[in-house]
Amino acid sequence: MKVSYYNVMFPYDDSYILFNTLRGAVFVVDSETREVLMEGKLSALGEELTDLFTTHGIIVKNEVNECDEYRLMYEKSKYATNSTTLHIITTYSCNLACTYCYEGKGEIEQKSMDTKEAERAIHFVENLTESNNSSSLGIELFGGEPFLNMPINTMVARELEKWCEETSRNFSINAVTNGTLSTQETVEELAQYKCSFLVTVDGTKEIHDQRRRYKDGRGTFDDIMDGLWRVRDSGLHIMVRINVDEYNKEYIVPLFDFLKEGGLEDTLISIKPVFNSSPACLSYGYCLPDTEELRTINDLCHCARERAFKTEEPEKVLPQGPCSAQRSSYFTIDPYLRLFKCAILPPYEENSAGLVDLESSRPLLNSVHTDFMLRNPMEIEPCKTCEYVPICRGGCPVEIYQTQGTARGYICRKPEFQEVIQQKLLNIVKKHSSCDHALANGERR
């Protein structure tokens, strides 16, 4: 037996938190055990601990090559197609002009999908799902502001739900909206498809209205809240997305209280940093701007959980496979029927991974697609030998692509990762402090 390459340890009172980044197992160990693991003198472990550590991958058989194991897991996940997922941009137009918009406030691009284009997009989605043999299809209506094109949203939802039913597939739909257009009619329409809503609120009215504004400068907070209540009353799921930076961080906890008092306590909370060049990532895990913001986000999630909100960001620290940008089962499709590997890459032509072939309704893919699909952090030099790679994955492929011209690079934020993981593990361990060798979240993948 040998010590896993992916163990990390942090001090905790007079003992240590032991965490395995590849398996997600957490233990509290004394300094003696720590030393045994550090020096690899496994014979000194005792039978009970040896068994426990073997079960949870803290120690592994000598012949196990954990680097290959992770590389393989990563590669497999890229091509797993049980579920096909897409962002469908039904329009690039937007009725807002948020101060930090990365899409140019709906002014760079305004095109909306027409019926013909929507038909083609639907056909493409069906073909893709079919060729992936996926048992479920999940779509997110995206924009711009998707509710500016409700006839097409309805058409897409209706046709795809019908197709999924006919072909015995699970169907789920989500709308990523600014929340200002959730009229009774729209909510009722989408309720037929059990559509969940992802709405951005950047803090209490005071700060939100400074940031998320209509084109004429009026604030949107009150309209959004009216909409959220309508959505809640229809029994649909709500996720509130909060984009955090140094200007609004003080206003977030009061927002939690406001939501709670307003009867929106079942809302799922998602807190993301604001980037200069791109919005917060849609699949959690990468976006770690700097230590300070990270700490802020972590603290805010903690506060939300304390108020009995569920958070999108998992409480546990678990090893990760590739995000959707690297999965063959994922695309963003825009009104021009161009394909992208992430919803934050449009509308820019040079970011496109290909387009829908009008004849066959199949994807015609280009070298951007290749670039994203071929990325594997275990083939990148410093990541290969980093014990944090199963958590960090070498950074966000989109951010890497945008800053380095290829997704096959890395952005190293190891100190930030150490910090946030340490913080999270402390919270987890404190919850379980009654156990001796506290096994907090030791379930294996």
Partner: protein, 442 residues
């Protein structure tokens, strides 16, 4: 604009007819000798616009910045990790009723285990778990002789069929058998399943009866002919494999003639070289390996006699073999799991053993990762090879026995060229009307 690295050129110099077969796109573009010469000498800008368009359509010419190696890598990985289908080869027993002189397994004397009821149950559980959510499931039975104890394979199939019926999974089965043990009853059972059977000949009656013999030394040729009649009468889907070496090579035409005379003319037939790459023991007969040129000629002969055949299956020459795929595994009588069905004699390739609940235990991650991560584009020879999209690095086990590592080529580029030429000519005879086989150069 540049030339695809996966263009394979054929030209009949006399008739001035040629074609480009693109091994990545599987496309064919008809060309004349002038275009042939321009393409081969890198003067693509001199090709006329309309011809260029056709060449672009067939992807014989591609955009300057396109990296075909990278596209190929994604193609391979998609195929490798595809969740659409899964397949298992099961060895119900290592024992065999025959004692063929060239048997690479030592005719059941080297390994002699038979699968217990308990192991069969574990195998069924394992297969079910792996088949959940797939579109199709293939079960191949291999041996030894898989029909020596027919209750084992059919017992397994019955249990699995119930599961696949309930879960809407398409089940198919195949038997790799010496053919001698098929009875009315087995044939009847087989018809309950989507099936395919392979039986093996080894030359004319005289040679076959000297080589493929039972334990007492009796030949099996006439018995196989009876079995073929039985198959025919019962609409059993089957094909014939003929093992070839230097000694029996010249007797193959009399085998084919005999099959034809008996009315078996339209059968599917394939020819495989007898090799020593993966032998469990020293073979008793070592009559020399047949060269590929001679071997592919047999396909032509069979084709011309009205048999159905396809040379591309020599040496697993089609996207590697199933063993390169993530979801394809082999189970031996001990419940040991391998990637490759010919590997059970190499314990270092064992992935693990099936436990009571049908899970893989005692996992050898080293073997598991190295087989699953085998990537022809990490093998230098394959990176340079224009047949890579079709061959995918060839037989991994053969590579291992030749080079000591599965991360090496299991084939030979020169041989592949010969196979491709025969393949294209048999598949598209109309393209070479009026050309003689010998006048066509690669």
């Amino acid at each position: 604009m540049k030339e695809s690295r996966y263009n394979i050129y054929l030209l009949d110099e006399k008739e001035k007819k040629g074609l480009i077969y693109n091994s990545m796109q599987r496309s064919i573009v008809h060309i004349d000798d002038e275009v042939y010469n321009l393409m081969r000498s890198g003067r693509i800008e001199e090709i006329s616009d309309d011809v260029t368009d056709v060449l672009k359509q067939g992807r014989a010419l591609i955009d300057e910045n396109q990296d075909e190696l990278q596209i190929l890598k994604i193609m391979f990985n998609r195929a490798k990790f595809s969740a659409l289908s899964t397949g298992f080869t099961i060895i119900p027993t290592h024992l065999c009723n025959l004692a063929c002189t060239y048997c690479y397994q030592g005719h059941g004397d080297v390994m002699g285990k038979t699968m217990s009821t308990e192991t069969a149950r574990r195998a069924v559980e394992f297969i079910k778990k792996n088949a959940v959510g797939r579109k199709s499931l293939g079960i191949n039975f291999y041996g030894g002789e898989p029909l020596l104890f027919p209750d084992i394979p059919f017992g397994i199939l019955e249990q699995i069929k119930q599961f696949t019926d309930e879960n809407g999974i398409y089940l198919s089965t195949s038997f790799t058998s010496n053919g001698t043990l098929f009875t009315e009853e087995i044939v009847k059972n087989l018809k309950d399943f989507e099936h395919e059977v392979q039986i093996t000949f080894c030359g004319s009656r005289e040679v076959h009866d000297a080589v493929r013999v039972d334990k007492k030394g009796n030949g099996t040729y006439e018995r196989l002919m009876d079995v073929i009649s039985l198959f025919r009468d019962n609409d059993i889907r089957f094909h014939i494999r003929v093992d070839i070496d230097q000694e029996n090579y010249h007797t193959i035409s009399s085998l084919l003639e005999d099959l034809s005379q008996r009315g078996f003319g339209g059968l599917y037939i394939g020819f495989c070289p007898i090799g020593k790459d993966i032998c469990y023991t020293e073979m008793e007969r070592d009559s020399g390996r047949i060269d590929l040129v001679s071997l592919t000629r047999l396909f032509k002969v069979a084709h011309d006699m009205g048999f159905r055949t396809n040379p591309i299956y020599i040496q697993n020459f089609i996207e590697g073999c199933a063993a390169i795929k993530d979801a394809f595994l082999a189970i031996d009588p001990d419940g040991d799991v391998y990637k490759c069905i010919a590997a059970p004699n190499y314990k270092e390739h064992r992935f693990g053993t099936l436990d009571e609940s049908g899970n893989l235990s005692n996992v050898n991650y080293d073997a598991f990762c190295s087989w699953t991560l085998r990537d022809p584009l990490l093998i230098e020879e394959c990176v340079q090879c224009k047949f890579a999209p079709i061959c995918a690095g060839g037989c991994a086990l053969s590579a291992y026995s030749k080079h000591g590592s599965i991360m090496s080529p299991g084939c030979d580029e020169k041989d592949l060229g010969e196979i491709m030429r025969t393949y294209i000519m048999l598949k598209h005879p109309e393209l070479f009307e009026g050309c003689s086989y010998e006048s066509i150069v690669l």
